[in-house]
């Protein structure tokens, strides 16, 4: 049997990998392109600033945009102090021990729980047992727990990458530990922490399963935290699944995907700048 030249195989393999990577990237481009091309004709100021009529068949999506912003910002408001505090504790106040391992185990496990189980938990705990009903508050608390691991991980990484010298200089100026963290470590780690916060906002905006069973799907704008409301993702899901309006569904999808992509691109940009600062 004649042996095939290994260099020939090498060339073939290289071509295959190039094509494969090209194919995967084109999937991404096609997905985004479809959403943009199909959704673009339906997105106009009226679509963004008007209220939906007739279950969303006509009118705009303003309440769901407002609901999304309320949900994302309030969740961040709760999750950021908890997450950054946890990260500070893990990096500045302890050595690796059974206790930190236990906390890390908790964070990792939370990160691995699928969103439908968050929905199930939020539904039974916040909506039923704590009698919040389908409300913005129940949604916010559920999403807070869901995004907590992302904020903890990114903040921990950001705080760890702050050079030791900065801390030592601060101590040598007789600053206390907390003063050092507050005035030296946190400002230096801010871009990394911000990245985590933005990625979490992206996740909250795109989430459906955990939101629909906690915040509900009322079409009205939530005026208090005890009101039910729907996010863009939930609105889009209901439009698409119940076949209410394909046009409105595409329009909503465009606004939804565009918001998430721009938040994530911004997050990567901030991270990139932070990395180049220290290396």
């Amino acid at each position: 049997m004649r042996r095939i030249n290994p260099r020939f195989i090498d060339k073939i393999v290289q071509i295959v990998f190039n094509m494969q990577a090209f194919f995967t990237v084109s999937i991404l481009i096609v997905i985004v392109a479809i959403i943009f091309i199909k959704g673009f004709p339906y997105v106009n100021p009226e679509f963004i600033f008007a209220s939906p009529e007739d279950m969303g068949r006509h009118g705009g999506i303003f309440p769901s945009i407002a609901g999304t912003i309320q949900l994302a910002l309030l969740s961040i408001l709760f999750a950021t102090p908890l997450g950054v505090g946890t990260a500070i504790f893990l990096t500045e106040y302890t050595r690796e021990s059974t206790f930190t391992k236990l906390i890390r185990f908790g964070v990792e496990s939370l990160a691995g729980i699928p969103s439908i189980l968050y929905g199930l938990f939020g539904f039974i705990f916040f909506v039923i047992k704590l009698k919040m009903g389908w409300s913005l508050l129940a949604g916010v608390l559920t999403i807070t727990i869901m995004i907590l691991p992302t904020i903890i991980r990114t903040s921990e990484e950001a705080i760890r990458s702050v050079p030791r010298q900065l801390r030592i200089v601060s101590y040598s100026l007789s600053a206390t530990k907390w003063e050092t963290i507050k005035k030296v470590v946190l400002p230096a780690a801010a871009p990394g922490i911000l990245t985590g916060i933005m990625l979490s906002i992206g996740r909250a905006v795109g989430e459906t399963a955990a939101v629909i069973f906690t915040m509900g799907s009322s079409l009205r704008l939530p005026l208090s935290i005890m009101d039910s409301g729907r996010t863009m993702a939930v609105h889009f899901y209901i439009l698409a699944r119940e076949g209410i309006s394909m046009e409105k569904a595409y329009g909503t999808a465009l606004v939804l995907v565009l918001s998430i992509l721009s938040i994530n691109v911004l997050a990567y940009y901030v991270m990139h700048r932070a990395i180049s600062k220290y290396s």
Partner: protein, 287 residues
């Protein structure tokens, strides 16, 4: 003055400990409340009748979720069959073939795939994949195959980014040693790099599986949600996650408890997968 500062230091420390403990508290609450709702039915109806039962008629006292367990595994394996080769070869391309510049551009771009919400994937699946399957292969199109394709794409970012990290962490000296022996690039990748990065790559597959088995919204839109074990890849099916999401909004009484029992089974499967993945990653780091 100094005493006040010390007091403040101590106060801050305790607040931070409380914050750190909150993650554990939340995890505990999630476990307790899902178990508290899900376990009573296991005792009442019997573990075998739920896990091994074929019939799901929760309003008439049948809570069999065996077909859904099988279906969940089938879509997960299907997703892996599509996502694993694509994801791994993309990771190999990024770590071994592409230039630094392409790598810096492509990696975040591919990670953006993860940001696209699952409802959007489900929607595109219904509009484009389902008709394609229906017209060319038959059946209704709402099928194991369509679901596997969409889930396969959805787990790509997980597989690419984790196996990329595993490949890139193989020491440069391994590659140089192999090249010095006269091996070609592919021989080096196949015989040296892949075996060294094996556990990290495996972990990426298992985490991808965890994502696929936990995925909900995309699945209920394209799987067809039929209550039986699919006989072919063109048959519709209902997963564990789909069962919960489809019925939770209107279920009450034992019916609702049945959905929490479904949640308990899902939670156990996810825990096992995460444990295996973490174990794999730890072994890699230890090496």
């Amino acid at each position: 003055m100094i005493e006040k500062a010390l007091l403040k230091e101590r106060f801050v420390k305790w607040v931070l400990i409380a914050f750190a403990l909150s993650s554990l508290l939340f995890l505990f609450l999630i476990f307790i409340f899902i178990l508290a709702e899900g376990l009573p039915l296991f005792l009442k109806v019997g573990v075998g009748n739920i896990i091994g039962g074929f019939k799901w008629a929760p309003t008439r006292g049948s809570f069999g979720i065996f077909p859904m367990i099988v279906s969940s595994f089938l879509v997960t394996i299907g997703a892996l069959a599509i996502g694993a080769p694509m994801g791994l070869s993309c990771a190999i391309y990024l770590s071994e073939y592409s230039g630094k510049k392409t790598q810096m551009l492509l990696k975040p771009a591919l990670e953006l795939l993860a940001g696209i919400p699952s409802v959007v994937y489900g929607f595109l699946g219904v509009i484009y994949i389902v008709p394609l399957v229906r017209n060319y292969l038959g059946g209704s199109g709402f099928s194991l195959l369509s679901t596997s394709i969409i889930l396969g794409v959805m787990i790509l970012p997980t597989i690419i980014s984790i196996s990329f990290d595993a490949l890139i962490s193989v020491p440069k000296t391994y590659r140089e040693g192999s090249f010095a022996m006269g091996a070609t690039k592919w021989q080096t990748i196949y015989k040296v790099i892949l075996p060294s990065a094996k556990s990290g790559i495996l972990a990426s597959f298992i985490l991808g599986m965890g994502r696929a088995i936990g995925e909900t919204m995309a699945v209920i839109m394209i799987a067809g949600n039929a209550l039986k074990i699919p006989g072919s890849i063109l048959d519709p099916l209902r997963t564990l996650t789909g069962n919960i999401a489809l019925e939770l909004s209107y279920a009450s009484g034992d019916h609702r408890l049945g959905l929490f029992s479904t949640g308990v089974v899902l939670m156990v499967i996810i825990m096992i997968l995460n444990y295996i993945a973490n174990f794999g990653i730890k072994r890699k780091i230890a090496k």
